[in-house]
Structure formats: structure tokens, C-alpha cells
Amino acid sequence: MLARLDDQGSQRYLPEQDIIPSINSGIGRLQSAFGWSLANRKGSEEAMRDFTRIAIFQTSSNGTILLADPLLGQTMANVLAVYPLPLTEQAQTIQPINNSAYRSDLSFAGPTTPCHRVTLEQVPMIQSNASMRGNEVLALIPSRISWRYYLNQGSVWLLPRSQALRILAAIAYIQKFDPMTSTTSTVDIPEYTAEILASWALTYIAWKQDPQGQGVGNLASKDAAELFGFNVN
């Protein structure tokens, strides 16, 4: 696409100033689109198989798992599932630490029990209600324990808390796409989204030609409104 005039007045598109940010905007938009679809209907997990990971963690002494674990080496974009007490290929041990920890020494071999997500508002209703999953009333009976988790302050919190202290749990998550850093770096996205990404990146870069939203900006706005249901202007 030939530029007429961008809003910085450079007469051309520059990689660091225009091209890379527009591609990264497209990547972020892809990530949002996937997150949006997962959150609404939990669909398209198959579409994200290239970026679905499962890692084993040890919960903290409070029954939580820090999602941004520095040792994990990846950033979690979406939590797909939490599996308390998973099967692992290796023999399981518990480390004598209070913080949650990514257990790179263990690999996931299968789940053992369901664990449903719950909202923050519902957490206090669950604790003493034996008819709700994650309650403490039945937590001491092995055949009756049921699990839930909620997300709070960048951590996964497991219920019932009394049984979640320093245990192993697996988290299935969508890996966050790494942004483009230079024109020679790799954009690590699903292959079938490359055309969409190129289209969106062009839309974003073209927007700069017209900061008042007179031309292609309207197209981008309409596109985002269709995808996410909100106005970007």
C-alpha cells in the first residue's frame, strides 16, 4: 500500500514507527478475538491448539497459583482449565516452600477430577453450602470433594481452600503471542490467521493516513464493532 501522508509527516511508513506497531496491534487484536470467543462460548479451543499449553504447578500455602510465574518462560493469555491433583509422568513430590511454583520437573499425564471456574462474587456463597461445588462442608470426605477455581490478582485460587494448600495442580492455558520486535523477528501466530493479521495490520496502518476517521477508520471501527460489540472511536 502506498502512503499518501501519515500523521507524523514523514512521507513514508517507517518500520519502528508504523509497520511493527500496526502488526503488533493486529496480533493483540487476534489475541483478544480468541479470548473473546473462549470467554463467551468456550469455542475454538481446537483453533488454538498450537498455543495451548499445560503446565504443572505447586500451590502456595494459601492454595493459590501465580499465573505470571517467572520460571514458566511464557505469559498466559487465557486460562482454559485447572486440574487439581493431576496425573504426572514422574513421581510426585511436594517442595517445602510457601509460594506457588512452576514444577518444570513434572509433566502432565492426565486430569483426575473436574474443576469449574466461579466468579469472585460467588466464592463466599460456596464455602458453607454443601450443594455447591468447591464447598468446605464435604471437603474432608475423599469421594465427595469437589473443586472450583477463581481468578484474582493474577493468581488462580482453588476451592475448597482447606484441601488446596501445597498441592499439585495443572493449568491449561493459551500462550500469549509474542509481539514483533524487529522486521527480521518472527511473528508466532497460527498459520491460518496470517491473512487476517496482514489485513488488520494494513487497516491499522492505513488508519494513520486519516486520523480524523474520515475514510478507512470507519472500516476499522465497523470491523471491531462486529467482532467485539463495542466502538473503538
Binding site: 468456550k42 473436574p114 469449574h116 454443601a130 450443594s131 455447591m132 461445588r133 462442608v137 464435604l138 470426605i141 469421594s143 465427595r144 469437589s146
Partner: protein
């Protein structure tokens, strides 16, 4: 069949197996216990009632040793007695048949001469009358028990006439399962030929609350379409086995 097997079958029948299903095993288990108690209570009542000798229901009876607490001239009853608390609810059966027997246990601390003595059921009111009767008054070889509710709301069995040295007894009871302690992996109490009735009852209980979110789950409560009909409980015959357990006999 274990409770887990039964509950999982109902969960599948109701479609409550997807990852955001509303009901969990414990919800269905509670309904199962409600209805199982109904049917098992019917069955035991039939076998120990006027037309039965109770033999065919002994597979549902539990025999458990219970520790005995001795009470020295309590304020409640003004004479010495002992008691134990029932760990779970006992079925309300004909002839107060929920407790089928109380015996001295081996090593309970009683004299060997009274080992075979049977405890007779009575009431606290009758005990007051019998206390001074020479042939009926409670004594170690002629002990009595009477049920009452303790001040701290326990299901208590008072024991009268037993030696103060007795520390434990053997009790046969028809316990109802407790929701808050039941192990999901234990076998169900109900007889196999009643499982179909039980499943029907549990599903029937489930239909009503399942209908509510679709039909009434609006804030203003005025969401009915014109002419919309609310599903009601199915009408059953008076001869249905769930009403008359004798019909299930072969």
C-alpha cells in the same frame, strides 16, 4: 451399585455433564438420598410389619458397637442410667423397629450371667411406672432402653437397669444414610429391583427445577408467553410401586 454409579447415570440422563453444568454430583446425591429413604423405609416397614418377620430386610441392618456413657443420677431423670447417641437418623418403622436389638457386647464390662439378656424397648413414662414393680423394674438381666431427644438435640438412647461398669453395647439399627458423611463409593441401601423406581423418582424431582430457569428465570417474574404452560409433576397411579411397595413383591 454404588451411589456414585447411580448418581453419574442420572447426571448423564439429565445432561448435566458438560463443563458448565449447573448441577454437581452432590445435588443429585441429595435427591437420591431423599427418595432412597422413602423406598427403603417402605420396604423395611413391609418386612417387619404385621405381615413380615423382618428376615428379608436384615441385609439393610447394621450392627455396631457403641460406647456407653454412664450418668449418675442426672437432673433430667432423677435416677442413674446410661445412654449412647445414635450417629445417624434411624428409620421410623413399625413397632419402633428402627433399633432392632441392643445387647451386651463381649468385653463390655457386664457380668457373664447377663450376656444373653435382651434390652426391651419402652418409654420414659412407662419406666416411671415400672421402677417399683418387682418383676418389671430395670435390672442388669432385664434392661430397658428408651429413646429421647437430648438437651443438645442428639438422638439419644437411654439405658436403664444396666451395671455402671458397662462401657459398650452392641446395637442393631436401620440407619438412614447421612448426606454430610456418606461415602459416594459405598453400596446403596436400596434393593436392586427398586432401582428403576428410584431413578424415576429422582428424575421426576429434577424435572421441576430444571424447568424453572427456562420458564421463570427473569427478574420481573412476568416473562410468560401467552398460553405458556408450566410443566407439573406427572400424575401417578395409586397402584404405582412407589406408593405401595407390596406390588413389587414377586
Amino acid at each position: 451399585m454404588t451411589y456414585r454409579d447411580f448418581v453419574d447415570d442420572v447426571m448423564v440422563a439429565l445432561g448435566m455433564i458438560h463443563d458448565d453444568s449447573l448441577w454437581s454430583r452432590d445435588n443429585i446425591l441429595l435427591n437420591t438420598i431423599y427418595q432412597e429413604n422413602l423406598l427403603v423405609g417402605q420396604d423395611i416397614s413391609r418386612t417387619i410389619g404385621l405381615s413380615g418377620d423382618g428376615v428379608s430386610s436384615t441385609n439393610k441392618r447394621q450392627v455396631v458397637p457403641v460406647p456407653v456413657t454412664q450418668v449418675e443420677c442426672s437432673d433430667e431423670w432423677s435416677w442413674e442410667h446410661a445412654y449412647f447417641d445414635l450417629p445417624s437418623k434411624v428409620y421410623d418403622l413399625p413397632f419402633d423397629g428402627g433399633i432392632t436389638m441392643i445387647r451386651y457386647a463381649v468385653g463390655c464390662g457386664c457380668e457373664s450371667s447377663v450376656m444373653g439378656a435382651t434390652f426391651s424397648a419402652t418409654t420414659l413414662e412407662r419406666l416411671s411406672l415400672m421402677k417399683n414393680l418387682p418383676y418389671q423394674s430395670p435390672r442388669p438381666d432385664q434392661p430397658y432402653y428408651a429413646r429421647y431427644k437430648s438437651l443438645n438435640d442428639k438422638d439419644r438412647v437411654g439405658l436403664f437397669g444396666i451395671s455402671s461398669l458397662v462401657t459398650k453395647l452392641l446395637v442393631g439399627v436401620y440407619y438412614a444414610p447421612r448426606f454430610d458423611t456418606l461415602d459416594m463409593n459405598t453400596d446403596m441401601r436400596i434393593d436392586p429391583h427398586r432401582l428403576a423406581d428410584l431413578k424415576r423418582l429422582v428424575l421426576t424431582m429434577s424435572v421441576w427445577p430444571l424447568g424453572i430457569p427456562q420458564e421463570r428465570h427473569k427478574n420481573d417474574g412476568r416473562d410468560f408467553e401467552p398460553g405458556q404452560v408450566v410443566n407439573t409433576r406427572p400424575i401417578i397411579s395409586v397402584n404405582d410401586p412407589i406408593l405401595n411397595s407390596n406390588l413389587t413383591q414377586s
